[in-house]
């Protein structure tokens, strides 16, 4: 098993995983037609950011290493609030337009 | 802009645990609210009224057991009374007392079943049903002691009762009526009627106004719960009811809770009647013999009896032949159902089930 190369998990490895998650999230949020799909992308991106925060708090030298985790907690809280409002928006739009496909929601006024 | 949720059509029955038999209610619900109710009956239709035209008057008696199979005694009694009225037969004293006693015992058994099933619909999973069924078993054992059958008793004959009561019947009945059942009813009342959740689930559920009750020709506990003091045993006394002093319980606002409380009170009044009957039970023949192929004079007769479900009437038309020309039964369960849509529309689906349980229908009687 190529354990020699991967004998240890370095900061770069975790950052790559974070970047991967972020790019998938970006792709999903940009390419999905359904509003809920876009929200999923946004959630993935936020998770990726959290992973990088915690990686830095674990690896990087700093006077207060726990700040990374505090930030991650704030990100989680805000993401939950944002998801709630966004989904409420989607439902409100659905109620007027009978659809949540963003292609069809282009009028500024209805 | 209301949330456009398309109404869902839900089938309650015919194989549904809480519809007391093969009765199907098609409810259109929007979320929890019931918006439309359609009743589908006929799964148990045996066309007894057609069959009765082919059999002699005595052969028709077993039909009356199988109509309201939870109150066979009152079914037999109603039919025998109408034929006796048609043929002008008068029944010996002892038979009349026995008939009164057994129809009151049948009322206790039927109301036990109704109360237990109603609480079960409210959700108390099986516990109160077991208690009420245990009491009902004792009454059925007494039936078995006298006429050999527990449910389809076939006990009454035209002109009296089939068998006289065995010697050990009265002591057993005395124990049941004086020592055992009053305590059981007390227990039932405390366990259930004072229960907060039952109060919450059945207050103001399935409300019937007095005017609507009369207009929809409801009868029995349904009518009395709406606040109308009407009972055939008092209004049109048959057998020896005019010699009994008892009271009829009447509710206030016609909701499921009142119906349940009335049924429990009626059971207590039935015990009172049975005690008086036992005290005044005369000796003498239990039956006047009537020719097997009785040929009543041509004509018609309508007589009615207060069965546990309501006013059970028999309209018999005779053309002088051995078999009735036309034999129609006024089924209280069917007529009490005519007001179900008015009671359930606008309420939640859970309340519709509770309302149906409180009406206490018997599908054998609805479909005949």
């Amino acid at each position: 098993m190529s354990s020699v190369v991967l004998a240890s998990v370095s900061l770069e490895n975790v950052l790559v995983i974070g970047a991967l998650l972020f790019s998938i999230g970006l792709y999903v949020s940009l390419s999905k037609r359904n509003a809920v799909g876009i929200l999923m992308g946004v959630e993935l991106m936020l998770n990726a950011v959290n992973v990088t925060f915690l990686a830095f708090s674990r690896y990087v030298e700093s006077p207060r290493p726990l700040d990374g985790q505090v930030f991650a907690m704030f990100v989680i809280a805000i993401a939950a609030a944002e998801a709630a409002v966004a989904l409420a928006l989607a439902v409100a739009v659905y109620r007027h337009r009978e659809t949540v496909n963003i292609d069809e929601i282009d009028l500024l006024r209805w | 802009m209301p949330i456009k949720s398309e109404p869902v059509e839900v089938n309650i029955g015919p194989q549904h645990p809480s519809t007391h038999g093969v009765f199907r209610m098609v409810a259109r619900i929007d979320g929890e609210r019931v918006t439309d109710v359609k009743m589908v009956v006929g799964y148990l239709h045996r066309s007894m009224e057609k069959l009765a035209e082919e059999r002699t008057y005595t052969q028709n008696i077993p039909f009356t057991d199988r109509m309201d199979y939870l109150a066979a005694m009152t079914g037999n009694l109603g039919y025998c009374l109408s034929v006796e009225k048609l043929a002008g037969i008068d029944v010996p004293e002892r038979a009349q007392y026995l008939r009164t006693m057994f129809s009151e015992l049948q009322r206790v058994a039927s109301h036990c079943m109704a109360t237990g099933a109603f609480i079960n619909d409210c959700g108390a999973w099986q516990t109160p049903v077991m208690y009420t069924f245990r009491d009902r078993e004792k009454v059925l054992d007494l039936f078995e002691m006298t006429c050999g059958a527990r449910i389809t008793t076939n006990y009454m004959r035209i002109g009296g009762v089939a068998f006289d009561i065995p010697d050990e019947f009265l002591p057993a009945l005395d124990w049941l009526v004086n020592d055992d059942l009053p305590a059981r009813f007390e227990e039932l009342e405390n366990l259930i009627v004072g229960n907060e959740i039952i109060l919450m689930r059945s207050r103001d559920v399935g409300v019937v106004t007095p005017e609507m009750a009369i207009n929809a020709s409801l009868s029995g506990p349904m009518l009395r719960s709406a606040g109308i003091a009407w009972d055939i045993r008092k209004a049109d006394p048959y057998c020896v009811y005019d010699r009994m002093n008892f009271e009829i319980p009447v509710g206030y606002n016609g909701d499921s809770y009142d119906r349940m409380v009335i049924r429990i009170e009626e059971m207590k009044q039935s015990l009172r009647i049975i005690r008086q009957c036992m005290a005044e039970l005369p000796d003498g023949p239990h039956k006047v013999d009537v020719p097997l192929a009785l040929r009543p004079p041509a004509g018609e007769a309508y007589s009615r009896v207060e069965s546990p479900k309501g006013e059970l009437g028999f309209y018999v038309v005779s053309d002088g032949g051995p078999a009735p020309y036309r034999w129609h039964v006024r089924a209280p369960s069917l007529i009490n159902l005519s007001v179900l849509p008015q009671m359930t529309i606008g309420q939640s689906i859970a309340d519709a089930i509770v309302t149906l349980g409180s009406i206490d229908i018997n599908v054998g009687e609805v479909d005949r």
Partner: protein, 184 residues
């Protein structure tokens, strides 16, 4: 104190009360029941229900009887306040029976009229939803009619297939055939 027993109003009393208000509504009056003209059925029923004297607010029961030449629709009406009951009959044609519906007057009548339509075939005009109550929609014919069994291909009914009298004997006592001692 004397228990009140339900008084059965004689047909004549009802007919006279009804005749005064709606002349021509009553076809004839018998001791037990009164026969109404089918045409003025709804008006008569409405009057009987709202009349303070008759006060027939409670429709006890309704059914139909097949009288071979006609089909009688029988109503039992009662007043709970006055504790009296009386019977009303309406004749209808035997082949295509049609009678005005009283469902708009009493809710209780809705299901009972559907039953009469289902089993006897009496069409009730004005009934909110006249469909079969017990049988399925495509059931051929109406079972409670006396001629139901004589449908093409229908079996003979039970008792009526035995001769009412032994051959060659008219009325009087039945004389058993001489069995001839032990003849096979």
């Amino acid at each position: 104190m004397p228990h009140p027993a339900t008084v059965t109003l004689p047909g004549t009393a009802v007919a006279e009360r009804l005749g005064a208000a709606l002349p021509g509504a009553v076809r004839e009056a018998f001791a037990e029941h009164v026969v109404l003209e089918p045409a003025s059925l709804f008006a008569a029923m409405a009057f009987m229900r709202d009349d303070p004297e008759l006060d027939a607010k409670y429709l006890v029961q309704m059914c139909s009887v097949d009288m071979i030449t006609r089909i009688d629709v029988v109503y039992h009406l009662a007043s709970l306040a006055r504790n009296h009951i009386f019977e009303v009959k309406v004749p209808a044609d035997h082949e295509r029976p049609a009678v005005a519906s009283v469902a708009p007057l009493w809710i209780g009548a809705t299901l009972q009229e559907r039953e009469v339509y289902d089993l006897m075939g009496v069409a009730f005009e004005g009934h909110p939803e006249l469909t079969r109550l017990f049988l399925w929609d495509k059931f051929p014919g109406h079972p409670l009619r006396k001629d139901f069994m004589s449908l093409p291909g229908g079996q003979k009914s039970g008792l009526s297939q035995f001769p009412k009298q032994a051959p060659g004997q008219t009325g009087g006592e039945f004389r058993p055939r001489d069995a001839g001692a032990g003849a096979p």
